[in-house]
């Protein structure tokens, strides 16, 4: 012991900066999710699959623009675009949804998230909205491309205005697709910790339910069954909704409002189950 003991100030400090809120954490999670969806900030390997899908969808838009520029004929309306690429969009979901949620389950990174201010519901909703926005961009991006192409070849301003109205309708349909597809597939992916398994499960649910619904439609003929059966296929539910809103798709008879209600219930139900799933998730 020396004569004079001193306590050296070695410079430990309290954090005195701004404490960013729970909302900031949730926003960061959303932003990160959106980047992951397109493989941004990740290796080239992670970009292959999303960009194959984006390439296919964009190719279709370019073909539409080219045909329109040459012949003046709209091959595929803005509103019909999402249904034309819906199987490709399903592949995008099978790629991205497991990437967003299954990896965290498998690598057991959830405790790291949940030890922060971000809540369980915040996590689930941030992932869901990231996927929904990604799917919307996947569908609305090419629609916008078609709009730009047609606007430049339109003869006058009234033509441009008509195109813009068409584009807005197309965006509404795209948003319906994005909500229905992503809420369903995030829910499926959130119960599978293996990406491969989650991808398979998403495709099985989408394709088998559509096959069954297609058969019921064929069986129903002109009767009420063929107008209700599309409710049970994720591919046809948004088409029914479109038919109710704009009257331009499959025949739903007087059941239009039912499609609106079913869409609402499906999205709300899947979101609710997703939040419940993360409340109970084993860490």
């Amino acid at each position: 012991m020396s004569e004079q003991s001193v306590i050296h100030d070695i410079g430990y400090q309290r954090y005195s900066g701004v404490r960013l809120s729970r909302g900031y954490a949730a926003r960061s999670l959303f932003e990160h999710g959106l980047r992951v969806a397109f493989g941004l900030g990740r290796s080239a390997k992670a970009k292959i699959f999303p960009w194959i899908v984006i390439g296919l969808v964009t190719l279709l838009a370019v073909v539409i623009v080219a045909v329109k520029a040459q012949t003046g004929e709209m091959m595929l309306s803005y509103q019909a675009f999402p249904s034309a690429v819906s199987t490709v969009a399903m592949v995008f979901l099978a790629v991205v949804a497991p990437e967003l949620v299954s990896r965290d389950l498998r690598n057991q990174t959830l405790p790291l998230y949940f030890s922060r201010p971000v809540g369980r519901a915040d996590y689930a909703l941030a992932k869901l909205s990231a996927l929904a926005v990604a799917v919307f961009l996947l569908l609305a991006g090419p629609q916008t491309l078609v709009f730009l192409g047609s606007a430049f070849t339109a003869p006058d301003t009234s033509g441009v205005a008509a195109e813009a109205r068409g584009l807005l309708g197309g965006w509404v349909v795209s948003a319906a697709y994005a909500l229905i597809f992503s809420s369903l597939s995030v829910l499926i992916a959130s119960v599978a910790s293996r990406r491969a398994f989650a991808a398979g499960a998403i495709v099985v649910v989408f394709m088998v339910s559509s096959g069954v619904a297609g058969l019921l439609i064929a069986l129903g003929g002109e009767g009420p069954m063929s107008r209700i059966a599309p409710l049970f296929s994720p591919f046809l539910l948004p088409e029914g909704l479109r038919s109710w809103l704009y009257g331009t798709s499959i025949d739903v008879g007087a059941y239009g409002p039912l499609y609106g209600l079913a869409t609402l219930l499906l999205v709300a139900g899947c979101t609710g189950l997703l939040v419940l799933r993360y409340r109970k998730v084993s860490l």
Binding site: F49, I52, G200
Partner: protein, 237 residues
């Protein structure tokens, strides 16, 4: 072929949650047929929508995809494949055992419900034709997806691209690509074996038979060859 490996593979396949995904599909196939018959739908329409649309185009490739990538892909994924690779067993035999398990599980899981559905729609001959065609299809698909699971790190996604984009979209638009689509070989076999006039495809029987054999042999050979120089790595990207 090595019985121990086959046994381990079968146990790994049945002992997991993913197996539950396979169960509903055959049940749905038979259930939908029953509903269709209850509605007195014409047999030709039912055969077209149920047997082809749901059975051959959806259930068969998806069951084969999940099983075919599950037998080896999941072991590669979680790293337990080294335990098998470290044993003095020729790699070709490992592949043969995995293929045998994958093909027989997919064949049973699809051929049995297809037989039931076919028999309900148009008699035993139709059912038997579809069941046999599905066995051939399951073998070809299994070899293909087994090869994919050794060749790439993301076999399920590549398999999905093949099934959904190539077979589902492109081969319906561009008739020429049907020569390299397992789905159309199965349709051809089913039409030939059941003697039914309901199914038409542009692929001839000889092409379908030869191509099925080529896909199966090439897939197995590629998988065995790739597994011989297989490097074990952790999960990347």
């Amino acid at each position: 072929m090595n019985m121990t490996i086959a046994w381990i593979t079968a146990r790994g396949l049945f002992g997991r949650k993913r197996f539950l995904l396979l169960l509903p599909m055959p049940i749905i196939l038979i259930g939908v047929t029953a509903v269709g018959l209850a509605f007195d739908a014409p047999a030709a329409d039912l055969a077209e929508t149920v047997l082809l649309g749901l059975g051959v185009a959806t259930v068969l490739p998806l069951v084969s995809l999940i099983v075919g990538t599950g037998v080896l892909g999941s072991e590669i994924d979680d790293g337990t494949v080294v335990h098998i690779l470290a044993k003095p067993i020729p790699r070709g035999r490992i592949i043969m055992a995995k293929l045998a398990v994958a093909a027989s599980v997919s064949a049973v899981a699809t051929a049995v419900p297809m037989f039931a559905a076919g028999a309900m729609i148009g008699g035993t001959r139709l059912g038997a034709g579809f069941a046999l065609a599905c066995v051939a299809g399951a073998l070809a698909y299994s070899a293909l997806f087994l090869a994919l699971s050794v060749l790439t790190r993301r076999p399920v996604l590549l398999g999905l691209l093949y099934v959904v984009i190539w077979e589902g979209l492109i081969s319906n638009l561009v008739a020429g690509t049907r020569t390299v689509s397992v789905q159309h070989y199965v349709i051809r076999f089913a039409a030939e074996l059941s003697g039914s006039e309901w199914f038409r495809t542009t692929v001839s029987t000889a092409v379908a038979a030869v191509m099925t054999a080529v896909v199966t042999v090439a897939g197995t050979w590629l998988a065995a060859r790739r597994l011989r120089s297989f490097s074990v790595a952790g999960e990347t990207s």
